[in-house]
């Protein structure tokens, strides 16, 4: 059972590598482009292209799902194994992070923060497997940023829609357009930050790879066959990918999660919300007394 779940965890990633090898032609030279389109489903607003980034993010989704099952199946209260220690460590760490930066009221955000971190880090780290990192597709990170924006707006509306609308005219009514732009800038900057960081690493990786292959064919061009063009590309790009893929990917996942927590918890008008709650309670009690 354990082995089966471990295999199921790895299988989606292997499948996405297999799909890449089978369906995507190898590109020659400098090719900085978006995700490969497998096919397009006809829908209004431009149709739905099923792309490499979506397939990769679904693979990560499945992989994380099976990882959860792998970590949590057969848990005990005594004599715990390594898998349970890891699962408890993840949960406790995430809960501690949420508690320290959002407060006790937002403890329900634990799974959401864990989901953001897991999905973001795993999709960024997919580039270590030679896959197209899904986070370097603007659509993917925009979706996440829009979900965060929905959450922010929801928590701003907790103290009533009118209070939320009044918040736009806060210092002076003239500032309303600026406030609206500032409101929209939040998801845009979140999406662009994540996308820009990952794709800049991706582009630099491609440039380094191309440059190394050019230098290799210049220096070792006298070697027989295609060996000359690949000699410098063995191992050296991995050193750069330690920063651009491993460090930057994990860092961006952390930053995205931290920003989500900060934005959501600061969007919640706690004072007004509790004042209204107390007021409502008092009114209800007065009605009951009557």
């Amino acid at each position: 059972m354990t082995i089966l779940l471990l295999i199921l965890t790895i299988l989606p990633l292997v499948c996405s590598i297999a799909i890449k090898v089978a369906f995507i032609p190898a590109s020659e030279g400098i090719a900085i482009s978006g995700a490969h389109i497998f096919f397009t489903i006809d829908l209004p607003f431009g149709g739905l292209p099923i792309t490499e980034s979506q397939v990769n993010s679904w693979a990560v989704l499945l992989s994380l799902f099976f990882l959860c099952l792998f970590l949590t199946h057969g848990m005990k209260t005594k004599n715990i194994g390594v898998r349970q220690i890891i699962a408890e460590f993840i949960v406790e760490k995430v809960e501690g992070l949420v508690r320290s930066s959002m407060g006790e009221m937002f403890m329900g955000f634990g799974p959401f923060i864990a989901a953001i971190m897991g999905l973001s880090a795993m999709t960024s780290l997919q580039s270590l497997l030679g896959l197209y990192p899904a986070t370097s597709d603007l659509n993917v990170v925009s979706g996440w940023a829009i979900l965060v924006f929905i959450l922010i707006t929801y928590y701003k509306m907790k103290a009533g829609p009118l209070y939320y609308l009044k918040g736009f005219t806060e210092p002076i009514p003239v500032m309303t357009p600026m406030n609206i732009i500032g409101e929209i800038a939040t998801p845009v900057s979140m999406a662009l930050r994540h996308y820009g960081n990952v794709i800049s690493g991706f582009v630099i990786s491609i440039l380094i790879g191309t440059a190394l292959s050019g230098a290799s064919s210049l220096i070792f061009g006298w070697l027989p066959g295609a060996l000359g063009g690949y000699l410098l590309r063995i191992g050296l790009p991995a050193i750069f990918s330690i920063y651009f893929d491993l460090f930057s990917g994990c860092l961006q996942a952390f930053i995205f999660a931290m920003l989500t927590m900060n934005y959501v918890s600061s969007a919640f008008p706690a004072d007004e919300y509790f004042r209204r709650k107390a007021l409502k309670k008092a009114r209800l009690e007065a009605k009951n007394i009557k």
Binding site: H36, A87, E88, D137
Partner: protein
Amino acid sequence: MNNLDVISLNIWQILISLANLAILFFLFKRFLFKPVKEILAKRESEIQAEYDKAEKATDEANEIKASWEEKMKTADDKADEIIKNAVEKADRRSEVMLYESREKAESIIRKAKAEAERDKRDAQETIKQEIVGVSAAISEKIIGREINMDDHKDLIDSFIDNMEEA
């Protein structure tokens, strides 16, 4: 063109990735956080139960210890009393014995004294007899004739008495 542009936006793709994140949120909530929290709560309750049990056991042990201490204390008192009684008894007996022994010693001494007195008297008597005998013999020899013992008895006796007095 079989690839997306580097920067492209498509409403359906955005919705799909939004749904992906939401689905992953529910998956994590259902399959990672819920079981782990359940197991943590279970463990906590178990530990609490263990603590309660341990506390109960400690209380019981303390109770037993207190009762034993009480018992020990009374036992100590009893032992003290017994020892005291024994010491008293021993003291008394030793006094009695001492007295008795002293008595015995005194009686022995008295008896010895009496015996010695008697012996002395006996000895005096014998010596007196012998002296009488001896002096009669000597006088006989000196005088050259037989002295009638009965005649001279009074004489000799008075002599000896004078000697004794002297």
